[in-house]
């Protein structure tokens, strides 16, 4: 009972702090602190609820238990991370985004192809592509190659559609200006159209980051070597070792956020001129 009261108290205090912080919306420190306080409050309330309600370990472990498991099984987690995130997701992400980028530039030269491919690409981007996973696992075997293949297919279409859209972003006036400078196709592409397309390209890249990790993990449900985050999750669920599952989720969340954050940082450096980036400084 005392755990529950403590939980309610922590919630009230956390919310009160945030209400105070929200009075200074211009303050950078307050902007950073508010989400951190909110997250910490949530974790504390979770801890209190688990002990207070006596929830079994097999259902929902407390954050402290997860932290202990995380610290104790760093070796396993690191191995899984290398297998799934680096070998599977990252390889596939680079291959898929690169292929989509080049395809987009090739498609962009022909208006006919563009008009034909864009609706098909948009349609394919909405499809449950993850369903291809069992087929690709059958084709490329159980190791990371098949996971990379799933990731390639998953990130390809969002990236393609975004890049093609971005390449048409430079308007007629700017293109005419390039022509008055006697710039050829490649000069126009490199100096005007690609830079103008960058906000769209990065949008595609950012969508791709989460898709890549999801694709790599889910593909492991259909067969994998005895390593990898998806493998560990599905076998640990079978053994009801929820603390290890949650530790794996923490790894996935950290990897996902880190991946997204890295792309967002590069975006900031490359598209510093765009209004959405300028407003933040």
């Amino acid at each position: 009972m005392s755990w529950l009261i403590a939980g309610a108290l922590i919630w009230a205090v956390g919310w009160w702090i945030n209400v105070q912080l929200a009075r200074h919306p211009q303050n950078t420190a307050a902007q950073l602190a508010a989400p951190i306080v909110f997250g910490a409050t949530l974790i504390a309330v979770w801890e209190c609820l688990v002990w207070g309600l006596g929830i079994k370990l097999a259902l929902l472990p407390a954050p402290s238990v997860i932290a202990v498991t995380f610290a104790n099984s760093l070796n396993i987690l690191w191995g899984d991370f290398l297998q799934t995130a680096i070998k599977g997701a990252l390889t596939g992400y680079i291959l898929g985004c690169g292929a989509a980028f080049l395809t987009a530039i090739a498609v962009d030269r022909s208006d006919f192809l563009k008009r034909g491919l864009l609706p098909v690409g948009n349609f394919a981007a909405a499809l449950p592509i993850i369903g291809l996973a069992p087929i690709l696992v059958m084709w490329f075997g159980f190791d990371w190659q098949s996971k990379a293949a799933v990731v390639v297919v998953m990130v390809f279409f969002p990236m393609l559609v975004n890049t093609v859209q971005g390449l048409s972003e430079a308007d007629a006036m700017q293109r005419d200006l390039m022509r008055t400078y006697a710039a050829g196709y490649w000069t126009t592409l490199l100096k005007l159209r690609l830079p103008a397309a960058m906000p769209f390209v990065f949008n595609g890249l950012k969508i791709g980051t989460t898709l890549a990790l999801i694709g790599a993990i889910v593909a492991e449900f259909f067969g994998s070597p005895i390593q990898g985050m998806g493998f560990r999750i599905s076998t640990s669920v079978g053994r009801l070792a929820m603390d290890l599952v949650w530790a794996e989720i923490v790894v996935a969340a950290l990897a996902g956020s880190g991946f997204y954050g890295a792309v967002a940082l590069i975006e900031r450096a490359v598209t510093f001129w765009h209004p959405s980036q300028r407003g933040r400084t």
Partner: protein, 291 residues
């Protein structure tokens, strides 16, 4: 309409590539069979064989089409549209959890967006976490969610719908926050000069002007919740639904079955997203916002 010819060309090219791929991928098995039967394959024989194998690596389009007809149209004709072998039955299972998850997700997303727009504390503390929540590959923990909810006594439709909900609330929140904030300062001031209350401003200005954003998010949310429902059917105890068909197909090497389930899922996605597009067009037209 001027897009039809290019689109058809692209689709035809894809199908041609698919046939060619079927020949290339299934050829080793065809040669293997021929070598054991001690006959040499001429090219037409090879093509005919690769397009009609029992368990091909890549089934040819007409094989998939035949399988789909057998499990949908032919089932209806014989009056067994909802038998367990029928793809319509499996699609219905997947559709029902997709729809439930989609509705829950849309409701949750809209409520969160209203909270974020009207409450600065929520804007500052919740919004970053809504974004962070999507960097967690939720699909990866779908099996765990289903096992845990089963243990608590919630089974059937709801666990799958929860996964769909988690995936679909995000686009709705982001779209609705943008949409509810889309009225300009001038319009908001106008409402104030008319002495409109907060709820009047909401119902008469903010909500109507958020509609275009709302429908765009709904389309993304629908696609996401279908993926959620399919992956939710993969783990333990999946007996029905398109995801279960995929998994069963991959266990028994029934490639034709996998492909037909896949095409069915794609068709379902197209129908659902198209339906929202239709509602969007009618609604926006009636509101006088159609472009």
């Amino acid at each position: 309409m001027r897009n039809i010819v290019p689109v058809l060309t692209v689709v035809a090219t894809l199908i041609a590539l698919w046939y060619a791929g079927a020949v290339a991928l299934n050829a080793p098995w065809a040669y293997d069979k021929a070598a054991r039967a001690e006959v040499t394959l001429t090219f037409p024989d090879l093509v005919a064989d690769t397009w009609s194998q029992e368990k091909p690596k890549l089934p040819a389009p007409h094989q998939v089409a035949a399988e789909m007809w057998n499990t949908t149209g032919a089932m209806i004709a014989s009056g067994r549209a909802f038998s367990k072998r029928s793809l319509i039955y499996h699609s219905w299972i997947t559709f029902s959890s997709t729809a439930l998850g989609f509705l829950l997700g849309t409701a949750l997303g809209t409520l969160l967006a209203i909270g974020i727009v009207y409450n600065r504390t929520m804007d500052m503390s919740v919004m970053p976490w809504v974004i962070a929540s999507q960097t967690i590959p939720i699909l990866a923990i779908a099996p765990m969610i289903i096992v845990v909810l089963n243990a608590v006594g919630i089974s059937g439709l709801l666990p799958k719908a929860m996964i769909s909900m988690y995936l679909s609330f995000f686009p709705v929140v982001v779209g609705m926050v943008k949409g509810l904030r889309s009225p300009s300062q001038m319009q908001l001031d106008q409402m104030r000069t008319w002495h409109a209350s907060r709820s009047q401003t909401f119902w008469k200005l903010r909500l109507p002007s958020s509609m275009p954003y709302f429908f765009t998010s709904l389309k993304i949310a629908m696609a996401a919740s279908l993926v959620g429902a399919i992956v939710g059917e993969l783990p333990t105890g999946a007996v029905a639904g398109l995801g279960a068909r995929l998994l069963a197909g991959s266990y028994y090497g029934q490639t034709i079955q996998i492909w037909s389930a896949l095409i069915m899922a794609a068709t379902l996605a197209a129908i659902l997203v198209g339906l929202i597009g239709l509602i969007q067009r009618i609604t926006l037209k009636r509101m006088g916002m159609a472009t």
